[in-house]
């Protein structure tokens, strides 16, 4: 599915919106997410997942063709972590809370921030 297909489906689902409206709305969703990430903000979409921006330090890399050492500048990368509901849905698992407690080795919570996660690791490890 492409963004165009998504716009089409939104337009079909909301007959009161024109196709142009649907396009403006879909673009506004992803533009606002891009702006938030550009500001280094974390995005959390319940039932879908969360996006964070992580800093990567500069490092020495190699030109794979020539083998020469090149320095790769520090940069920020956007990372996506799939939410529990969607993770189970794409894996064909039941989405009810009962079924997941047993197999869920990560025991993550969508509310969990990076800080929470490192604290938890600190406590249990």
């Amino acid at each position: 599915m492409t963004k165009r297909d998504l716009i089409e489906e939104v337009a079909q689902q909301y007959p009161r919106f024109s196709r142009r409206d649907a396009e403006v709305i879909v673009n506004a969703v992803f533009d606002s997410m891009t702006d938030a990430l550009a500001k280094g903000e974390r995005i959390e979409i319940r039932g879908f997942g969360s996006f964070i921006v992580k800093q990567r330090p500069s490092r020495e890399g190699r030109n794979p063709r020539t083998g020469t050492v090149v320095s790769v500048a520090a940069k920020k990368v956007p990372l996506f972590k799939v939410g529990k509901e969607l993770r189970l849905r794409v894996d064909d698992q039941p989405t009810d809370a009962e079924g997941l407690a047993v197999e869920d080795e990560t025991a993550d919570d969508e509310d969990e921030t990076e800080e929470d996660a490192s604290m938890r690791r600190g406590v249990s490890g």
């Binding site: 709305i25 891009t34 879908f48 940069k75 894996d91």
Partner: protein, 92 residues
């Protein structure tokens, strides 16, 4: 940023009611989820692609007990940011 902030932005930009803006944002994510569930890849130009990968079963270990276990095969979702998004995050 949460869904509510996205709704706010739509509301300001398009001028529908808050209720309508909330519904449509909810629908957009639900449409994406439904397609991913069916095994489809989602390509949002200018933002990124959501792709599904199939993992084979593999051996792992319970880090607490050291016990060897089989991690079942599964389908996982990953996000590949578009060059446009990467640039927006790393302005020159």
């Amino acid at each position: 940023m949460t869904k509510a902030d996205i709704v706010e932005r739509i509301y300001e930009k398009v001028g529908f009611s808050k209720k309508e803006a909330t519904d449509v944002v909810e629908s957009i994510f639900e449409i994406i989820k439904a397609h991913l569930e069916r095994g489809e890849k989602i390509k949002i130009s200018g933002f990124g692609n959501f792709v599904l990968n199939t993992k084979r079963p593999r051996k792992g270990r319970n880090p607490q007990t050291g016990e060897e276990i089989v991690i079942s095969g599964r389908r996982v979702l990953s996000f590949k940011p578009s060059p446009v998004l990467k640039k927006a995050i790393n302005p020159l």
